[in-house]
Amino acid sequence: MSRRLLFLLPLATLALMAGFFAWSLMAGRDPASIGSVMVGRPAPKLDLRALREGDKPLTDALLRTGKPTIVNFFASWCTPCLAEHPLFTRLAQRDGAVIIGIAWKNKPEEARAWLAKLGDPFLYAGQDFDGRTGIDWGLSGVPETYLIDGNGIVRFHFRGPITEKDVRDAILPFLKGGKP
C-alpha cells in the first residue's frame, strides 16, 4: 500500500464521524429517547384505588378483557397532559376506545376537578399518588401512554403526549385489531 494513502486515514475518519453526526441531526434521532422494555411483555400489575368516589378498585383483570385497552398516566399539574386530553376524549367518544386513566402524583380531588372541567374520557380511573405503580410500569413521568392488547401484552409505549399522528398511525390501527 502506498504511503500516501495512509495519510488519508485521518481524513477518512473525520469524514466518517461528520457523516454520523449529520445523520444523527437529520434522521430525527432523539437522544433523550430512552426507549421502553415494556413492549412485548405482559402489562405490569395494576392494583389501584379508584379515582372517582364509589368506583371499584382497578385490578389486573381490566387489562385482560380480550379488548385492546389504552392506559394513560396523567396529572392535573401536567401541561402536556392538557394538550393530549382532547385526543383521548375523541378516542373515547368517536372510536369507543377503552381508556384507563391513572392520576400520577396528583391529589385525587385535583385530578377529579381537572376531569370535571375538561371532560372525563376514562372508562376506569385510578390514583397512583405515591408513584409506586409508575415505577412498576417503567414510567419516567407524565404523560405516558401504553397500548395493551386483549391478552394483556403491552404493544406500544408512548413517552410524552400522544399526537394526532400517533392516533392515526398507531392507536386507531391498534384498536381495530391490527398491530400498531
Binding site: I34, G134, I135, S140, G141
Partner: protein, 150 residues
Amino acid sequence: MKRVLVLLLATLFALPALAVDPSEMLKDPALEARAREIGQALRCVVCQNQSIDDSAAEVARDMRRAVRERLTAGDSDAQVFDFMVARYGDYVLLKPPFKLGTLVLWLGAPLLLLIAASAIMLTALRRRATAPLPPLSDEERERLRSLLGR
C-alpha cells in the same frame, strides 16, 4: 479577616449535596450504605446523566424509595439492579453491561489504541531497518584500502 479565611477554607471542604432526603434514609446504616452505592450507579431516567442519588426529579425519588424497599425486603444488590433493568432497561445503569450490543462501546477505544500503537511500532522498526550505516572509522578505512590492494 480570620473569619473570611475560615469561610473560604470551609468552601474547600464542601461536598456536592445529594438529593437523598434524610426522611428517605433507612434506619439500618449498613442497608443505607448499600442503597447509596446502588443509587450512585443508577441513572435517573429523565436527567440524561445524573444518578438517582444526585437528582431531585420526582421519578428519581421514587426510584430511591424502590431501591430501599427492595433492600429492606431482603434483595441482594444484583436483584435490585435486575428490578430496575426489568422496568427501565439497560439505560438505567450508569455503567453499561458488557454484551454484544455494547461491544463497540467497550472495545472500540482500546482497539483504536492498539491499532495506533502497532502502527507507530511498525514505522519505527522499518525506519531502523533502513537507517544509513554509520561512516567507517579511520582504522576501518585503512583496512579496506589494504584489502583492495591500493
